[in-house]
């Protein structure tokens, strides 16, 4: 069979500082296919695609589009080559309507050649005709200018005109709405329409399914298949195997910035792909001991939280985390995991519900944590540790050194007006020694460390405060296997010391192997709590996508307002 390669990337290398994001990558994309780019977080998928989209420029290597060498220095160049990318973080102007976002940056050029041809054709050779021809030539610049000015004007009915075109594709979206009013999947739709409207023949989608519900994913895949039938080439970045198998024709696997292989989806299995993706067989050898004395440690009852936009981020969440166990929380990204942990940590004030902490230092008395600030919680003597999802943005201060970061949570102790840097310095040194943090010294700003080491510092600090409840949100996101195992072992060690560990994860295999019980969240509500030793991946997956594992259509009327 003959294939035409629309894109060939040869020997692409891109480094950030001394870290290689991509190293000598070769990749080709065929016309009319869906190519998955598979790799773990941090394997260089997005960087590679950003070089096609003109966000980054490769340090070395060549890119060929339709067989010709292409130099893509900006997104505009990429558009000119027919490459359009839908970024994971949507590149939309919030203040504009969907329509304005779609037509934004559209170019128009006057067809001089066509106009000249037309004038030539109209010349009938008579004197009058010749005279008219000369006149027409003279008028040409003005016609062109007028044409340009007319294009530059924004018609009042632009949204309506565009709407008709969009409806033809089968998208359901009111283009006159402002972006800040749209849901995530609607924003994604806008991005896709935008790229199509600009005449892209090659579409790159960066983790398009991460934020979508299963129904929305199905819809998206239908759209992608339709576009493929139209002869467009589609590149989809993902790390979800089931999606790779479902949608793609071929899979390119990246690992640590290097291209491992490109295989036909039909000729491979999930297992084989996983092996290529992670490098060795995934035998999740996470030790799991039996929980010790599982007494309740943290009790959450009927927790309800409205977020800033006025929607319910959490609805009636009830669970009990016990001492000496790892309590896992699963769910599609954005189902309320972050809000739940942050509410417990005192960052949000819930609308309803209670949070009780059973204090082991005080004869197991219950302490109400509801509507307490993090500082108040600390003053109550509650030893609550929290590793937030956003490490450098929330858990640590990038520009401060290790010592200053270690004392972030404890600097306020005592009544002195001055800081005590002595003991934090010791703690920082201990963390560096015990967790083998690769850093020049404890005076290095944490921003300069690599992701795994940053996470070690953060987790190390939270453990150093001798917690009784340890909450961690996606603690292994973006870490390599080695660093991930360090974190798993730390969590297990905490569990064995009788700490109640709450672990929010995204990899179901890890959750099933590490946790004792798993609570599944769906759309801010508890879909169910299962025993991790007996539950199956499919069971949890189903609970993630529909409340309680029941068909979603029966639960349609659980509107936000009804809950009031």
């Amino acid at each position: 069979m003959e294939f035409t390669n629309v894109i060939e990337m040869v020997g692409i290398t891109k480094a950030f500082g001394s870290n290689y994001a991509n190293k000598n990558v070769n990749l080709d994309v065929r016309k009319g296919e869906i190519l998955s780019i598979l790799g773990e977080n941090g394997s260089g998928k997005t960087t590679l695609m950003n070089m096609l989209a003109g966000i980054y420029f490769p340090d070395e290597g060549k890119i060929f589009v339709n067989g010709q060498e292409a130099i893509i220095r900006s997104p505009l160049d990429a558009f000119n080559y027919g490459i359009g990318m839908i970024h994971q973080h949507f590149k939309l102007v919030d203040l504009f309507t969907a329509c304005d976002n779609i037509i934004l940056g559209e170019k128009h050029s006057f067809d001089f050649k066509g106009a000249v041809e037309k004038i030539k054709a109209e010349n009938d050779g008579t004197d009058k005709g010749k005279f008219l021809t000369v006149l027409k030539y003279m008028a040409l610049p003005f016609v062109a200018g007028f044409d340009k000015a007319k294009f530059n004007l924004l018609g009042r009915k632009r949204a309506k005109k565009l709407q008709a075109e969009v409806d033809k594709y089968g998208f359901q979206l009111d283009l006159s709405r402002k972006i800040y009013d749209l849901s995530v999947s609607e924003k994604q739709t806008v991005e896709i329409i935008k790229v199509l409207y600009r005449g892209a023949e090659i579409l790159i989608l960066d983790e398009p399914t991460a934020v979508l519900t299963p129904q929305e994913i199905e819809k998206l895949f239908d759209v992608l298949r339709k576009m493929k039938e139209d002869g467009k080439s589609i590149i989809i970045i993902t790390h979800k195997l089931n999606e790779v198998m479902a949608i793609s024709d071929r899979v390119a696997i990246l690992r640590k910035g290097e291209h491992i292989a490109t295989v036909n989806t039909a000729e491979t299995t999930e297992r084989e792909l996983t092996e290529m993706m992670v490098g060795s067989k995934v035998e999740l050898n996470i030790n799991r001991s039996e929980p010790g004395r599982p007494i309740p440690r943290l009790m959450v009852e009927g927790l309800t939280l409205k977020n800033m936009e006025g929607y319910y981020a959490l609805k009636d969440v009830t669970f009990t985390a016990r001492a000496g166990e790892i309590f896992g929380i699963a769910g599609i990204a954005g189902s309320g995991q972050r809000e739940l942990l942050e509410t417990i940590a005192g960052l949000y004030r819930p609308e309803h519900g209670d949070i009780y902490y059973v204090d082991p230092d005080d004869d197991d008395n219950e302490i109400d944590l509801k509507k307490k600030t993090p500082a108040q919680i600390r003053e109550l003597g509650v030893r609550l540790s929290f590793v937030p999802e956003d490490r450098l943005g929330m858990g640590l201060v990038g520009n401060m050194d290790l010592t200053d970061n270690v004392m972030l949570r404890s600097y306020g102790k005592g009544h002195s007006l001055f800081l005590d840097r002595k003991s934090p310095k010791k703690v920082a040194q201990d963390i560096v020694d015990e967790l083998a943090v690769a850093t020049p010294s404890i005076k290095t700003p944490v921003r300069r460390l690599s992701g795994g080491n940053i996470q070690k510092v953060l987790v190390g600090r939270e453990i150093a405060s001798a917690p009784t409840v340890f909450m961690a949100a996606y603690p292994v996101r973006g870490l390599d296997i080695g660093a991930s195992y360090t974190i798993y072992n730390l969590l297990n060690a905490q569990k064995e010391q009788g700490v109640s560990v709450i672990f929010v994860g995204e990899d179901l295999d890890v959750l099933l192997a590490l946790c004792d019980r798993i609570m599944v969240l769906c759309d801010g509500q508890v879909s169910g709590i299962v025993d991790a030793r007996t539950a199956s991946k499919e069971e949890i997956g189903y609970m993630m996508t529909s409340l309680g594992g029941v068909d979603k259509s029966q639960n349609q009327e659980k509107g936000d307002e009804n809950n009031d």
Partner: protein
Amino acid sequence: MFVTLITQAIRFGVVFLYGSTGETIVEKSGHLNLGIPGIMCMGAIGGCMGANIATKAGSGAFGVILATIFFAMLMAGMMGAVYGFFTITLRCNQNVTGLIITTFGAGTLGFWGSMMGREGTTFFESSKVFTAPMFGEVGSDWFSTIFLSHGVLVYVGIVIAIIVAIVLKHTRTGLSLTAVGENPGAADAAGIKVIKYKYTACILGAAISGIGGAFYLLDCTRGSLEYVIEAMGWLAVALVIFSLWRPNIGILGSFIFGLLYILPNYVEGVGFAEKEILKIVPYAVTALVLIVISFFNKKETQPPAGLGVNYFREER
């Protein structure tokens, strides 16, 4: 008396209008240019020099006006380019760069003014072209006095403001510029040449503001160099906020600012000191507008989201 007040208010307001129209363009591209006062000073130098060169060369009123506008825009545009170079290419802090330009511009105008004074160069002669009513002698009824008796640059300023308002609201160019100021990353991804837009906005905005400086010296003060333009420049920056980044509102706002600015001179029965209190009003009103828009927090009336943040595509 009342008619004179209104007429003068329009005249002085146009100084603010030039400044704020220019600054609006710059701010729409995501750059807060606190150098506008300095840029207006530089524009004034350019304008005065242009006017004198043209007058000496013996050109007619039209030539003098053209030369003035050209040189004012050239000098101010050069400062705008310097601001752009520092903030866009060198990615220096915008507030710092702006304040430096204000220091430099005001210093240069002062220095140049004293040099002119020593040389004995005056601009009274060339300023006559600008103070002369554009439509020739008109009737002395209130309508003609208020609307038709101004010099040519008053009308030019209003026309520029209207054009800029239309371009910002109703053209793709305006849409792209707004996108650059709101979310440069998105604009870049949509294929807009962000750097080009930012430079154009910085230079063009500065050039328009510069005409304001020239207008102030050649029309409002009739060629006298003893007045301080800096204060006018800060009011122009205030007017941008007051007008919620819309030059069409700015036309009305400039009139109000002009009125408040000259009002103390026309109010009778008020002491020397109390007039100072009246001068607070434009600033106080602007501060109030600022607080009110932050209180209501409506997305459409906020400053451009990217204001003050320099753009670096490979930021990581």
